[in-house]
Symmetry: D2
Subunit: 357 residues, 4 copies
């Protein structure tokens, strides 16, 4: 109810902010008897964590997950999986100069109004650190889905004005994604993107980006009619990630200027469709074709140049970011997009099991 839980049959509840001893979460509804690959979970956390490269924030958080329950002799037991990730690099002093000032386009102001107080030590629940808990749940969900033949792959397809063309997306080389700092599946564009992010970082500024996500192997039939359409839940999940401003599935905003005769996906023998403008979802339910969608991230709000703002008493102040921050969030957000996709898909997978038994 208070917004920290997600899902229907497969659920994740997260807790924690940076000033406490740990963040963490509780996973319910994970299928029983699944042999967990703990290294793969940690590897996902490592993909998300700050300080991986010169492009992103240099905070050193080891981000080691500790599972507390729900797994016995390496296998899931069907009971809740509790886990924590200790906060090792709290340094709340970094933020004391911001104690009363509202940082532009951050959640300082809105949290203050909502709760009547404000956590000035790093953003509280609005901090992207919370997404580490999502990555843990998402990593488990991904493992299970992969065992069912469902494979999720996200990558950066745009940073600022540098964008993969449709054909570059079609010919994306997934093996390249982890070989460059921006997680782009096209080595040439990746190099341009890296250079752009470096330039902007040096100016103390930030830049937006976009993540493309594709899912293969999804059986037809996932998604629930009317409100809980598959792409509606995917959209909510993506929009719940920090800095996201937009979501589109399949033809997306491009469909606005298309004719129905060109947009409709004709069925071919075997139930596959000739085109896939639907993005793998028709009427809110997967049709067996690859699912693909795109998520827009704004330039992160923290920049190292002075900005006009007010403090909690309403006085004008100059706010100036300090410390270590990402100039572009999308490279790290790739793993969060994958995690949330996995959480949504596993939930619908289980919901369909309860329908079709």
């Amino acid at each position: 109810m208070a917004g920290s839980s997600y899902g229907t049959l497969f659920t994740l509840t997260t807790f924690g902010e940076s000033h406490g001893p740990a963040i963490g979460g509780v996973i319910e509804g994970f299928p029983v008897g699944f042999l967990v690959d703990f290294e793969a979970v940690q590897a996902e956390l490592d993909r998300r964590k700050p300080g991986q490269s010169k492009l992103v924030t240099q905070r050193k958080e080891s981000d080691k997950v500790q599972f507390l329950s729900g797994i016995f002799e390496g296998k899931t037991t069907g009971t809740p999986i509790g886990f924590i990730i200790p906060n090792e690099d709290q340094k709340s002093k970094d933020y004391t100069h911001l104690k009363d000032a509202y940082r532009p386009s951050h959640a300082d102001f809105t949290y203050d109004i909502k709760y009547g107080h404000r956590d000035h030590t790093g953003g509280g629940r609005s901090s992207a650190r919370e997404t580490a808990s999502r990555v843990v749940a998402g990593a488990l969900a991904k493992q299970f889905l992969e065992a069912q033949g469902i494979k999720i792959t996200a990558f950066v397809d745009q940073v600022g004005g540098i964008k993969l063309s449709e054909s570059e997306i079609d010919n994306a080389d997934f093996t390249v994604i982890e070989q460059n700092l921006v997680r782009c599946p096209n080595a040439k564009k990746a190099s341009q993107m890296e250079q752009l992010v470096q330039e902007i970082k040096q100016k103390g500024d930030s830049i937006g980006g976009s993540i493309f996500c594709t899912v293969s192997g999804v059986p037809a039939g996932l998604g629930e009619p009317v409100f809980d359409k598959l792409h509606a839940e995917l959209g909510k999940a993506m929009l719940s990630i920090n800095a996201v401003k937009g979501f589109e599935i399949g033809s997306g905003f491009g469909s606005i200027s298309m004719l129905g005769s060109a947009h409709n996906d004709e069925f071919m023998e075997g139930g596959k469709t000739k085109t896939n403008h639907s993005g793998g979802v028709q009427g809110g339910i997967s049709n067996g074709m690859p699912i693909y969608f795109r998520t827009a991230f704004k330039p992160v709000a923290t920049i190292l140049t002075p900005q006009n703002s007010i403090d909690s008493s309403g006085n004008s102040v100059i706010v100036e970011g300090k410390g270590r921050h990402d100039a572009c969030v999308v490279p790290r957000a790739v793993v969060i997009v994958e995690a949330m996709s996995a959480i949504v898909l596993l939930d619908f997978y289980l919901r369909q099991k309860a329908v079709n038994f």
Copy 2:
């Protein structure tokens, strides 16, 4: 769980398909003691219903809502508001020629796979007729929100390639919206859009469009951290509307190519921001500035030209639409966008009452 309910404290559950005697719904959590303007509810239904103009489908459904409970002597009682809208124009025969064929980009195929059977008499729950129930709940929510000073206005800002510029949106004349068939707040562009839709209709084809929605008077503090961010729920609500392929809030997809220094909304005295790239939502919580977002609709799948497809036995067939269908769905969808926005906002309004008491 099965997807026909929406909301947390203010909830709507809908039921019904076109082959039965009625569709309808149950509203729970509507504030007690509110004097309902029944004519205004019916007026919203009339805005949504087919057959309003030469641009949209000519089915004659009177769409008269009957309230069955939860209102006593004109005022809400705090108990569930049940309502029905009788189906008067069932004509299921119209669809018998499609009994076994899967219409491209419809939900025929996916429903068949999901449930192991298919309702060929008009689309069942995937039919847009279900949205009439949303309009009833949304109309009630709108009335309550307006009494609190919260005003929702949606309009068509794009049909095919004809699009309002940013300045045309800023200077939108809301009084014009209901005076043209496409519900565009710019008379000149409206006329161009109408002509385009007419041309496409005559060809038996369809075209996409976009709806812009703005909400004024929303107090700061609405929305819940982490998963149930205000714009994440708005996104889900919009994406749950038939034919929607994309959603963006504030700067949306345009933010990808912006710098943080340009994108950040500096605070001014009084808590207002100089710009509003955030679209009225920061960290998932309303900041008191106008909320605005944009929803992309694909060209409707039903077209009157022959298309290749398969039937449920896997045989190749030619599908040819018949009857009365919209060439462009956005004019009628304006009221559904408003309704879903109202449902989402009233829910968050009540959730915040439970936090801040």
Copy 3:
């Protein structure tokens, strides 16, 4: 959230009070493709309805259910099943003399405080008429469960001081239940109970009673650990029925004075237990033995003798019941107990399908 919905995967939402045109409900999650026996549904409603005999209230409500959706050519479609039961005998005038007075042990006072107003025309949502909607959903659930070999039987085991002994319960003749006015499976005790109720009715008074419910054929494994234990949900479901003051499963309150060595149910070959003090549920999960539980009903609050009370202005008044009322509610409540049991069991049945697939 507002209390008118029940269940997790199989859900019922009810609406309606006696002053409106109809009561009704929406059922979600009913398994797809099930051939509905409509006459059996109506028969359950007829078992519940008032005016069946001289023992119970003489209001003539035909209580005819109309299904509006979710069933096509007699079979469930997997989509929400909406239904209404028109109110035919509203006679709200009966209650005008009570407009301002709070009837002792009714919900008049508490509803007035809760909502800031009061529905004096028959009790509003606190009226037992609401349970007719539960009977519709329960009748459908019973049909499905019976097709899986799960059989629910409830009967009256006590009226006032007249009580079936343990041995009389063990030797209950289920064929007798519908052959007497109190729905007791022992003809002799039934006759005594009938006589007692008649006497009390003639005095304008009322008397309490108890219902015993047994369920055979429940597979082991239904119920969820910790909070959603099978008997905890059964308890909530029973306590949500009007006039219920107590619930016990298996050995119940009698277990307080037992020794563990006598109470423990030893396992025998095949997994059956020698005794069944557990009542078919261990650790909150069914163990395959018959489930049985007992529900206590207070004497109904409406009596035809004068009582001291106050009105909404706080003045002392004398309240005197008029009209037609049950002297003992348990005979009619038997069908409600069965209905709620079926709703709970079908929900857990589906939840287990989502666990064990």
Copy 4:
């Protein structure tokens, strides 16, 4: 969904079993800005923990709660409160002799069937150790409720055949409760109960008991109509506690043999009632009178005498309990009854805030 979460606006999700590093939970929806008395929370845990006296199990678990989030400078922040209680005394070896045998009236058999495997190292989620997490959440809820003038007091009113009379309950001396080992508010009966438990413990057997709970200061208006009646939720909450077999509110099972004229609670000036057979709840909603209810606990299943059973292969075996176990669970369960009552009441308190604002 999987049963480890409770509540609607104030929610608790628990996790953990005895073989892992910790148990714990996440609390959502706790009112913001409340100054937590941490010592009082720990004191409640200490009241629940084993090894307090010669009457109860001698396991030494320090049961120290660690709060991980949601509290800043001693005050609640409105964000999720995560907490853990490390497992210090795992000794899973104690149970290896039971690895394949099903202990009579335990959850071994049902968990094995439900999940297809079994946690033989102490009961897993069916272990009463899970209730420590409920005590943490309940202790916080109690603090908040007490600040609103709502006071919850539970005590043992029966052990085996030794029972407080109605007059002894009316004259209960709450100051005595913590001064005797059985937590009975009547020193004389307490002494008899202690002696009985000691005798039964020496025989290696166990005995049932009952807990009476009373709540003063509850404002009228809490509880939701129809399904989520206040006493229905209290009943579910109590029945979800290990070893509970029955629940009654107000007159409870005793109401069965009462006449309506005697049972009805006449209203007096000021809205109070002359009698309180309703137990403070009418129509599922609190009426401002003290709430009271009674919960029946069976004799705990673990006894130290040999019992016939089967193992997971279906072979007959003799099961013999070892180690340290309670002969009677009710003294420690008093704090769990109070905790669950507080959780239920705080949830309804917040739900009413969302109705009446």
